[in-house]
Amino acid sequence: METLMVDRVHSSLRLFMHRNAIFLCERLCAQFPSETNVQLLATCYLHNNQPYAAYHVLKGKKLPESRYLFATSCFRMNLLREAEETLCPVNEPNMEVPSGATGHYLLGVIYRCTGRISAAAEQFTQALTLDPLLWAAYEELCILGIAEDTDECFSESTALRLQQEHTSTPTLVKSNFANENRVLSSRVSASLGDISPKQIKQLHANNIAEVSGYPHVRPTALHVQNSSTSNVAQFDTPSPTAAQTSSIMPPPLFRNVHVYQNTISGDAPTKQKANGVNQPLRRKYMDEARLKKVSGRLFNCDSTSIPRRSVRLKDTATNSNSNTSQFGGNGTGHSSGKLRVNSSTPSKLCSTAIRSVQVRKGKPRATENFDEGSRYEVIDEMWTDNISGTSSSVSTADGRSFEQDKAERILLQDSKLALGIRELLGLFRTLGEGFRLSCLFKCQEALEVYRKLPESQFNTGWVLCQVGKAYFELVDYLEADRYFELAHRLSPCTLDGMDIYSTVLYHLNEEMRLSYLAQELISIDRLSPQAWCAVGNCFALRKDHETALKNFQRSVQLDSRFAYAHTLCGHEYSALEDYENSIKFYRCALQVDERHYNAWYGLGVVYLRQEKFEFAEHHFRRAFQINPRSSVLMCYLGMALHSLKRNEEALEMMEKAIAADKKNPLPKYQKALILLGLQKYQEALDELERLKEIARHESSMYALMGKIYKQLNILDKAVFCFGIALDLKPPAADLAIIKW
């Protein structure tokens, strides 16, 4: 009965019937109280977004998986100290961090949230070593600014290591599916040591696929926590790509499982416990692994199913071929393709099995998808590319008998595996390099790297958002607008980069488009901080700073670990001249992310206004150190230096700014100002003349020229310049100054 219950719980979870799962699991724990069952119950609670229940249930448990689940619940409830204590107990420094790479990742995130950057970096590096395909860990390292070169992280040696991990597990029959699964297995992480040799390759690959999904799920789950999108959505939207891949696999697999579970009851539970897996998904597959292990006779049982399988294969192979190729080209569309393939399979059991597999496969990918935009769709597409390559081999494998071609297939699989691993690592290398460079604000290089991606990868929400961000940092708002718009159109539900997009529209003064974007985002997800940031930017553009502030504060409330929301609040307070509060918010932003140069800049501006020039210079310099390419920052640093009367350095900084970005008129203007201060009137005038060619319609420029002429007592020219300045309609304050 216990196995039956466990199975039902898993299938409920798989099909998102959380309350059903919880109910069953509670009965299970009441009847068979064991730590594994309690872990399962905790998992159910976590899926149902009740971390406090999981916390309560798991308190005090000592098994590594329990500790990991407990730490996750603590993290979700914001009890960082307890989470850390569980993962890394102070009294027992030698206790291993549970669940390998993901445990290290979670610990790293906790360290980052509590401000211990170097410890966090260490943990992330550790996680990445344990599982080179744990993108989230690499991403965190990039954000901390200390990621190493992707060529080292995702290098040839890593590829070899991954390959070894797969080939160490022996092959079994059923290599029909094994081909794709080989490819799928290329995503594996190292934590599969406990799979026994006797497993079917396919099953093994299943496991691996799921396991690989798992580390991505957990950290992305946490990452979601960090990046503030709503929790529930993590587990939605299975990707159709997954459907494609899984469609070919497994009806027989599941059938075997069911058969097995009917025949054997005693073994499985113990094996399950031995596994100690956290995710029910992974667990289920591990269970099957165990089941398969004990059942060499499965194949004998299943001889009747083989012809059906091959028949089905023929059916689905053609379908999936077309589907996958279609999918490969589709970019990020979340179509409901999965059910399409379903309909082709004859037996009801198989179709439900397929659906369940799809869903199961879909789940980890879905979490990844949702969390990191189409980053994983990127990887999914990679899968489909690989699979469309191998599905043809699958269909050809139909006619042959298994035993004969086993050896051949193993060799084929090995090479496919190697190829798959290298391709995936290659993709990671490109994406990782691009991301790392854009985090270091080396935007031109980042753009070049991103352009190396194949078109299918490039036209995905995540990549396009990253490209947009790179242009944004380069102050090329028109290009940024173009890319963000494309990203939003291609994947309207990616909210991650949309706060930057709203800022781009703010800079471009596009009131209508900004309000449209804001309304769209709110309608997509009312609980996402990016949407509220967009709304706030809308009001800020209209100079309604108080409403903007309210919206930004909502955004902060929704996710206090979203640094940009704090910075925007700071900007609004600064505009309202409430400098104390603005300093407070900028500091909050810096607490969340020390490399958020906008907050450093904001602080610099506040101090500049308060005439605390030393402080201003210090803060601008910090911002400049983080982002050494921004001409605007250089300009401001120069302004601060000018206020400090360090005019030589100021001029130098202005020169640098002018060189950094030819299109930026401001450094030239500031340079003219400084020269005016130094009483080098003629040079200032020259500078302004040069500037006139670029920016013809700037009233302040003519006003400044007028002022200089007045100083030089060339009154007629002064009048002339002031006249032009007035024509260009400056605001009232200037009018007063100009009309003498």
Binding site: K663, N664, H697, E698, S699, P731, A736
Partner: protein, 196 residues
Amino acid sequence: MESDAEEAAAAGAPGAGRLKGSPELTVDADMREMAKTAAWSVSSCKAGNGVAALRDDNLDTYWQSDGAQPHLVSIQFQKKVQLQLVVLYVDFKLDESYTPSKISIRAGDGFHNLKEIKTVELAKPVGWVHISLSGADPLETFIHTFMLQIAILSNHLNGRDTHIRQIKIYGPRPNPVPAQPFHFTSREFMTYSTIR
């Protein structure tokens, strides 16, 4: 009827005429409300209709004075500010004899050295009455002051006490880019002028 026509004619004449009030509050975009952090005080008030009613953005609540004329509303700022416009909301139809008719605006450093800068007369106003503080000279677009005092010298129909429903004070916006002598107007300059 004739008196209405007279008033209409009188209101029509600019400058020397009497202000009528408009239903909308129209303020230039380059001005902003300045008195949020100022200290407001009144010479007298009836219980329940105190000074807070002047700043609550609610046109149904009003301040009612309760003493001898002139009734005074004093606004003290934390530092010297540039002011450009004073806007009052009054309603003759609702308040009749409580509606102010002659208003004097004074400015200075404190209660001891206030000097009158403007006097206006109102003619049965309904709505927002805009009182500009600028002089004729462009150099006098703004007044720089620590304190502003609005004195109600007389009411319509010789009423003793007065009702005012809302008061707003406007001045120029500060330059979004710090430490600049002039504002930026063109898009190119503004795009590069700040980091957000």
